[in-house]
């Protein structure tokens, strides 16, 4: 592989990262080639010593998406970062994507519980016969209000957990990139 081929393949593999960032990365390799040539090496030798450009591109992309997710937090960016890191290997797919999916599912289930609890009074109003509350000696309205309040508290707690969870995922992703960096 000569310089032109290497640069073209790297350029293609870096699709998706912004122009400025890409230009910087390409510049670095351009510089590497020109110094190597000055020192009397051939383009083929230099390309070979640089290593596999597909895995280079993957790690450059993963680093970039994580930096962006840190700077501009959002579900979309986090998700992109997760996919980019997962793309670095099966090991990472198991250690990054699967914990994320399980955690998101658990959170989702907890949100449903909270919403249903909050909705208990309304459910009873709309479908008085279909909802049975086993309240024993406690007045029904108290149990219903209890559900409503507990649901509200649960929702607030969940919002805090979601925030913390978001930070945790970011830290987890960064740790993963540290482990696999340079690949």
């Amino acid at each position: 592989m000569n310089k032109k081929e290497f640069m073209e393949k790297l350029d293609k593999a870096l699709a998706g990262i912004p122009k400025d960032e890409k230009k910087e990365v390409m510049r670095d390799y351009e510089e590497h080639f020109s110094i190597g040539l000055e020192k009397g090496r051939t383009e083929e030798e230099i390309a070979k010593s640089l290593g596999d450009r597909a895995s280079l591109a993957k790690s450059i992309k993963a680093e970039y998406t994580i930096t962006r997710a840190k700077r501009e937090p959002g579900i979309k960016n986090i998700f992109r970062a997760t996919i980019a890191v997962a793309g670095l290997g099966l090991f990472n797919l198991i250690f990054v994507l699967i914990p994320l999916i399980i955690a998101v599912e658990l959170l989702f289930a907890a949100y449903i519980v909270a919403v249903v609890f909050i909705a208990v009074p309304f459910l009873i109003l709309v479908y008085p016969t279909s909802v049975t509350i086993l309240s024993g000696d406690t007045p029904t309205w108290m149990v219903v209000a209890g559900f409503h309040i507990i649901g509200g508290i649960l929702l607030v707690v969940l919002l805090y957990i979601t925030k913390g969870f978001y930070r945790l995922i970011l830290a987890h992703l960064q740790m993963n990139v540290k482990i696999i960096r340079g690949e």
Partner: protein, 107 residues
């Protein structure tokens, strides 16, 4: 060499070299290659990350031949980090060497 080990080693090497003088990417790759077998391309993502994290700053300097070269210079934060990294590395290699020696003695 195991790829995970190598990645950590390259980082240690980069900090060691840059604590002595400012270097451009090619120079770093060349110096490390003399001692450790590496894929030279991996040095650039590493340098980008460490620069973004504030350990290095960069500047361009014209060369007598060819395009200007991007030099990497260690920041204050980088110097501090280098100290702890070198210590970690020395502790690690000392410990592992001791262990290997002990095991070989037992044979």
């Amino acid at each position: 060499m195991n790829i995970q080990i190598k990645k950590g080693v390259i980082e240690v090497c980069v900090f060691a070299i840059l604590s002595k003088k400012d270097c451009y990417g090619y120079e770093l790759a060349e110096t490390i290659s003399k001692h450790v077998k590496i894929s030279e391309g991996t040095i650039y993502p590493l340098l980008r990350r460490l620069t973004k994290e504030g350990y290095f700053t960069t500047y361009l300097r014209e060369s007598s031949e060819g395009p200007p070269r991007k030099y990497y210079k260690m920041s204050k934060q980088g110097i501090e980090y280098k100290k702890s990294l070198s210590k970690d590395w020395n502790d690690l290699t000392k410990g592992v060497n001791e262990l290997i020696e002990e095991c070989e003695k037992d044979e």
